[in-house]
């Protein structure tokens, strides 16, 4: 291998290498393109949507796709396209925020449990308690207390969700901890914070990204199942998961409701997984040799 290129091959050392990466890495480009498009569509919903998502025109129920209603209308005569565009706001925001929160809590609990042997038993037994309940059982009282608001839904996803992250991150921490460089760093006088955040956490990026990207899709499904119980996003507000749920019995009349919402979720999950797997490869210096 050409020795002169080594520095440039690590994207973290040179930020202007970003364009190079995008040009050579088609998978990442496609993933980012879908992700950014979805985000733009939802953010610019008021501009893009031709109708108010809650506006009902009962005489136009189940109308087929037309120029005024690009994807037709649903059982209440609402514009499906507008509902899809607005629906992303809730779905994407809740999925992204709750995943980030799960990762943060999981990283904190997982690394501390893995690193400090004394904390391990306490933290992991607490985690086990959360893992022992079916997610929905923990979600019910949260929604009952906070109400079916976005905040309530995020909390209802977060409470049973972080435990899995903590488990995975703990086990990676344990395996990284046994390496010689941790001991050498400790022998040289490094503080625990230095070891945790400079040595252990960067070596856990792989599994963290893996479970986070897989989790993003699962979060949308969780929102759906909450909606199925009437605990999710409440009816007039559009949301992808709820739309699939409501659209399923109407598949023969207007397949567009469930289909379009389903395609949006698939696209979102696909994009995050593409980005996630490529990010993992890029962040791992060991993959350099394959890149060229």
């Amino acid at each position: 291998m050409d020795t002169g290129n080594v520095r440039e091959m690590n994207p973290l050392t040179q930020l202007n290498g970003l364009w190079e990466i995008l040009r050579s890495n088609k998978t990442l480009t496609v993933g980012l393109f879908i992700f950014i498009s979805l985000c733009l569509i939802t953010v610019l919903a008021p501009v893009i949507a031709p109708h108010d998502p809650a506006e009902q025109t009962l005489e136009l129920r189940f109308s087929p796709p037309s120029f005024t209603y690009p994807l037709g209308t649903d059982q209440f005569g609402r514009c499906i396209f507008s509902r899809i565009v607005y629906g992303g706001q809730i779905s994407l925001a809740i999925a992204v925020i709750s995943t980030i929160a799960c990762v943060l809590i999981g990283v904190l609990v997982g690394t501390y449990a893995g690193y400090y042997q004394k904390l391990d038993a306490v933290l992991m037994r607490t985690t086990d308690i959360f893992l022992a309940f079916p997610a929905i059982v923990l979600a019910l009282p949260i929604i009952a207390i906070v109400g079916p608001t976005p905040l309530g839904i995020i909390l209802a996803i977060l409470l049973p969700g972080w435990a899995k992250f903590a488990r995975v991150i703990r086990s990676s921490t344990l395996s990284v901890k046994s390496n010689g460089f941790i001991e050498a760093s400790k022998a040289a006088g490094a503080s625990d914070t230095h070891i945790l955040f400079r040595h252990i956490l960067p070596n856990c990026y792989g599994p963290i990204i893996e479970i986070a990207t897989l989790g993003l899709g699962a979060k949308i499904i969780t929102i759906t199942s909450l909606g199925f119980l009437g605990l999710g996003v409440q009816p007039p507000i559009p949301e992808w998961g709820t739309m699939i749920n409501q659209g399923l019995p109407l598949l023969d009349k207007t397949p567009m409701i469930a289909l379009s919402a389903g395609i949006m979720i698939v696209l979102f999950v696909l994009a995050t997984n593409l980005i996630g797997s490529e990010l993992r490869t890029i962040l791992d210096p060991r993959s350099d040799t394959v890149a060229i």
């Binding site: 001991e183 050498a184 022998a187 070596n203 350099d288």
Partner: protein, 302 residues
């Protein structure tokens, strides 16, 4: 300079808290400035545990470690961290001794970053050039990641990190055992040269008798958690039966099966079960005693 007195370490089994494993027992050890003590023994006899206790990476169950007269166990964690730069370790596995996500240069410079208060004025770039030159690495190699280097090159980088702050005491835990035979000699020469230069004390852990003779100013033989013989020329003129056995030309020579002299108690000499010259006296625990230039833990000599 660094001294361990009456060091004992018990490991408690994770599954059964009542089950203790005695890794090392009643070890007295002393390493002076600029001196190398070669520690040899079979695998699992507690050599690495002793090294880690001296570095204060694990606390001893009993006994104390004195560094320049100070008891390390009595220092606060932050005080201890502040003098940590004086201790370094070169471990057995060079491929896990460097963070795979850092460049080799970052790893070599890590001690400077940890002790930035002390070394704040130094130019890290110049220090890096000095260190990689000392250990014989190329600048391009330092810019790479650990997986792109060979075992010997990695061990050079590990040595560069270990000598970065001119430490007072280095533990070399079988630094060449994982390396290719062709590279071992150059790494050993490198270690010797750098150690002479910075005049640090060194605990050289190995199971290679020839290597121990080359490296050690003094040699200590460890058996089952205890140092049984220690002194300058003990491998040429062994006194303890165990030392005699390990330096014997035929390593496969089996010790004749002997009828036990009596019921072996746990307080008996640890070499009793396989000692060819045992006597009823050996059922009691022998003390470490000085005989001229060496210290031996054996009833035969007294």
């Amino acid at each position: 300079m660094i001294e361990g007195i009456g060091l004992t370490k018990n490991f408690i089994s994770e599954n059964n808290r009542k089950k203790h494993t005695r890794a090392i027992e009643d070890v007295d050890i002393r390493i002076d400035k600029g001196e190398t003590l070669a520690l040899i023994g079979e695998s699992g006899c507690g050599k690495s545990t002793l090294g880690r206790i001296l570095l204060n990476l694990i606390p001893p169950s009993q006994g104390e470690v004195l560094f320049e007269g100070q008891n390390l166990a009595k220092m606060t964690p932050s005080e201890l961290r502040a003098i940590r730069w004086k201790f370094q370790i070169v471990s057995q596995h060079p491929d896990s001794a460097l963070n795979p996500r850092w460049t080799v240069a970052d790893s070599i410079l890590e001690p400077f970053r940890i002790h930035s208060k002390m070394t704040g004025g130094r130019d890290q770039k110049r220090e890096l050039e000095r260190l990689i030159d000392l250990v014989g690495l190329e600048p391009e190699q330092a810019a790479r990641f650990p997986h792109q280097l060979s075992g010997g090159e990695l061990q050079r980088a590990v040595i560069a990190r270990a000598i970065a702050l001119d430490p007072a005491f280095i533990v070399c835990d079988e630094p060449t055992s994982m390396l290719d035979v062709s590279i071992q000699a150059s790494i050993i020469r490198l270690l010797q040269a750098r150690q002479k230069e910075i005049k640090c004390g060194c605990l050289f852990i190995t199971h290679d008798i020839q290597l121990a003779k080359i490296m050690g100013d003094r040699i200590a033989v460890m058996l089952d958690g205890q140092i049984v013989e220690e002194g300058a020329g003990i491998l040429d003129h062994p006194a303890h039966p165990f030392t005699q056995k390990i330096v014997s030309p035929d390593p496969h020579e089996t010790v004749p099966e002997l009828v036990p002299v009596c019921n072996c108690s746990s307080r008996a000499c640890s070499y009793l079960p396989s000692c060819p010259s045992r006597s009823p006296l050996c059922n009691s625990y022998p003390k470490m005693q000085e005989y001229g230039d060496r210290r031996v833990r054996c009833h035969l000599l007294s």
